[in-house]
């Protein structure tokens, strides 16, 4: 660092009101008081989560935009109920958090070469950016609107292929492919 790069900042000179402190303080306390009234009269308050959910609220009122919301992943199935994924590793390559682990193998089906023997997503490590969805050439991986996933251990939060396919079954009616 050169001396010329150092910028000395002077504290701004206080006005009389600033220096007396009380008027400025009252302004601040007025703001909090306003919020108290707003909250108590129910005009402005946070969403009461378990009872109210963002997906039930219009977007303009701060609700969830379901068109763009990115939640937990699912692995889509094709018409035959088989996993759509072809184990091309595009999602794990695109993933900035390195949370997708795939092990590929030769598929048991005649119409396809490759399929994932193992497909794990670490939902704790994932940053829900949706890059995997973008990268997928066969639309096999998708981000659903589910966000309230819980687990007792870290291991439980690593979703394997079965869990991701189950996620598809759970969400396919609400969110068709």
């Amino acid at each position: 660092m050169k001396d010329t790069e150092i910028i000395e900042l002077q504290e701004p000179r206080l006005s009389v009101a600033d220096q007396f402190y009380v008027p400025q303080m009252l302004v601040g306390m007025g703001t909090t008081l306003k919020h108290m009234f707003m909250t108590l009269t129910g005009k402005d308050r946070v969403i009461q989560y378990p009872e109210e959910k963002r997906e039930d609220i219009p977007v303009v009122e701060g609700g969830m935009n379901l068109r763009t919301y990115r939640g937990v992943h699912r692995l889509n199935k094709d018409e035959g109920g088989r996993v759509k994924c072809v184990a091309c590793f595009m999602c794990s390559t695109a993933c900035p958090a390195h949370c997708i682990h795939i092990e590929a193998g030769e598929s048991p089906w005649a119409d396809r070469e490759k399929y994932p023997i193992q497909f794990d997503i670490d939902e704790l490590r994932c940053i829900y950016c949706g890059m995997c969805e973008e990268a997928c050439p066969v639309d096999a991986i998708e981000l659903t609107h589910e966000y309230d996933i819980v687990g007792l251990t870290r291991q439980e939060m690593i979703f394997d292929k079965e869990k991701l396919l189950k996620m598809y079954d759970q969400t396919v009616e609400k969110e068709p492919m």
Partner: protein, 477 residues
Amino acid sequence: MDWLSVIPPFVYIALVAFGVVLVTVAYLILLERKVASWTQDRIGPNRVGPWGLLQPLADGLKMFFKEDYRPGGTDKVLFTTAPAAMMLVVIVAMAVIPWGGVHRVETQISVAAGQDVLAAAIASIPMNADLVGEPRVVEAGTYGIMYEYAFQIADLSIGLLFLVAVLSLAVYGVVVGGWASNNKYSFIGGLRATAQMISYEIPLGLCLLTIVVMTGTLDLGQIVEKQAHYWGGVIPAWNVFAQPLAFLMFLTCIHAEANRSPFDLAEAEQELVGGYHTEYTSMRLGLLLLSEYAEMIVTSSVCVALFFGGWHLPGLLGPDAQHPAVTSSWVVVLLRCAVYFIKVLVVIFVFMWVRWSMPRFRFDQLMMLAWRSFIPLSLVVLLATAIALYFAVAQDESFRSLRRIDGYTALLLFGVNIGLLLGAMVLSRVLPPPPLTNRRIGIPGSRFSHTPVPAAGEVEAVVQTKREFLVGVSNQL
């Protein structure tokens, strides 16, 4: 019922007062969380009981059933004594709060012939009650007597002095707890509390003195009573209207005294983990937290007594002298207690409101506020009040006899206060600014400094520069 009348009133007053205060303390924590929520657009605790009303119960249960853990290397005795001492001191301080003013009781006693009536009357009334007037004869051997007692636990004539003495002991809980914890954060918290307490006791005492000069008594009950009239028939004669500047300083000082934000440097959680109670768990921690709220109640009560006329509510109750019967009614006494308590709650709400609006002071700002503004200002206020009163008293006989401030004197004092405030504001603009804190200190050779790196042989010069610099800094401070 005989044995019941034998119990002196201060015993049940104490029981009721402590019961109410301690339950209130528990619920203040709920209120605090609610106020915090409201300012932050939230609803606050609402899971335990209706509107979260059972939350304090759940918190208390939790505190009791937590593991009572004491880390190694702590001072065994002091570590446990500190929270107890803190709570104890606050409870003791509560003794002199004049909750309901004076309660007057009329009763009859039968005196055997030949006995001293007065002595018998005195023997029959409760311990700390005063006989009012002479016993009057109702029929042979039966005298009607009237006695009164202050509706407070201990009716001390030096109540204010006692309060100041006891409240300043509360800091021992913080300091001793911080020291006994054997933790640097706790220790720093304790140190900060000490420095803060020393600084803010002075303006606090001076503000109290201002009121004492005005009222001429140290008895809190009497101070309240002297505010129970009107100026110009309309304005209640509360000291806050005569001494707004003193009130402002007093309010600030009790914030500091109760270690409340923005003066909660002793437990500044962003810097000191938990401050003095970092190492505390279970009910020991519970006591420390409760005592903070108990202290808030005590200091608010004092504030109400000194500046807001205690139990006095305009329009609701007239002064005692004109309506002697009023004071003998239990309903009125309890109503006064309620009024007092509601006023206290309002002040406590202000405490909380401030906490959730203000950021914490930096330590140097805290010190600057006490030493550079409050101490000189409160000294001047005291002096000016004394001078103003001297002239007011010289002209007004009623003041001398009743020791009550009349409307003109109050206006004079109000004028003096506002004048001093304006004077202080002008002076603060005229006086040179205080030395800058937290500024970049130029150390020769540092890459963040403008001072060039010394060549060989210039070391002496650099040392000299450094010394000059340090001397300069200390001069500025």
